[in-house]
Symmetry: C2
Subunit: 203 residues, 2 copies
Amino acid sequence: MKCISNKSSEERIKEAARKVFLKKGFDGTTSRDIAEEADMNIALTNYYFRSKEKLFLEIFKDLLTLYFQNTLDIFNKDIDFKSKIFEAIDHTYAMVSEEPDLCNFIMNEVHRAPERLIPDLNFLRQVKHTQLGQQLEEEIKKGNIRPIGIENVIPMLCGYIQFIFMGKNMHMKIFEVDEEQFKQYALDHKERIKEMILCYLYI
Amino acid sequence: MKCISNKSSEERIKEAARKVFLKKGFDGTTSRDIAEEADMNIALTNYYFRSKEKLFLEIFKDLLTLYFQNTLDIFNKDIDFKSKIFEAIDHTYAMVSEEPDLCNFIMNEVHRAPERLIPDLNFLRQVKHTQLGQQLEEEIKKGNIRPIGIENVIPMLCGYIQFIFMGKNMHMKIFEVDEEQFKQYALDHKERIKEMILCYLYI
DNA sequence: GCTATTTTTAAATGTTTGTTTAAATTATCT
DNA sequence: AGATAATTTAAACAAACATTTAAAAATAGC
């Protein structure tokens, strides 16, 4: 009946695993990678989490939440449509700046083996029905915005800037720029996305 | 001094490897996966290609060419700017429709281990200097198009629609649609991207 | 048709993989 | 302080891994 004790060990493993999984993906990560990153015995991974798979699923859930929850909250905020668009884009940009492997990780894991992630992915269905969607419909009704479905708007707010970051290495190779120059480029492109969306939506 | 002979075996392995690598990525693919897909002995992979890594690099090069070459050719075609934009977008759409794993594969492999791919990636530098870039500059000089760098235009033509396909599984989960409905959605979104780009570029 | 070369095979190589074991250590509670 | 439970450890596990070997089979040239 010991349960309080070492929160630290379990947490250290989880943090290490998160770091390694984010960088190398599930297939590219070994139990020893995680143990080494956490500076702990290999057996502890299976002591605290029953398997590499279970540990991964826990971490994936956290990272999927990180990937979506804040955006979802913004979609449901009580602010006007245009401000919401700006805020969603700015937040997406901030998120991928802070966690540069997150998009590639989520995209790749979902693409490679969606089945095992289905329980977690169900959480995403909230995205379909948000206040942003209602506001969009209203604006369309008012004639301010051209007819368009929310499923077309969301990738504009989140996906376009994500793509820029996902292709970071390729961009740096193609245009022969360094990290700092890329950062400035991404920032500039983000503002262009904003203007482009407004330009397209408002007739 | 036999060299003519069995082109078929080497080719069969390469095709099998291409298929498996595309689906599972380098880390997720085993030599046995490839041998099984090709229905050949495991040793043949190392007989024809010296290692899994070397086989992968050969295939990666092919797939990177598939990913970029046609787009590059379009960029250098002798047609007007606006037609070129349409054609580039339509081609990107056709490419990812035909090879649905290609974007995820390229993005992920480049992201995960760019160093080993550098020799191949150098080929990408052609993208920086194309006739499309010159045409863009001219249009800007003429005052038809707002000031913008080619590095901002290319993702609009290629990346945005790619992102839609890369997130296919997630989209289907979020909006609870099937393959056919997704296809229609992607087609619609592609046309919106075209209009959005024109709407943004031409002042 | 025989020899030399290339291709294919089954088997084995030594590592690395995820996971387990059982003993040692540490912490907890009375 | 001593008994009990939780944690950590080193070692081992079998399975899967990429790769190699050496012999068998197929093919080539003379």
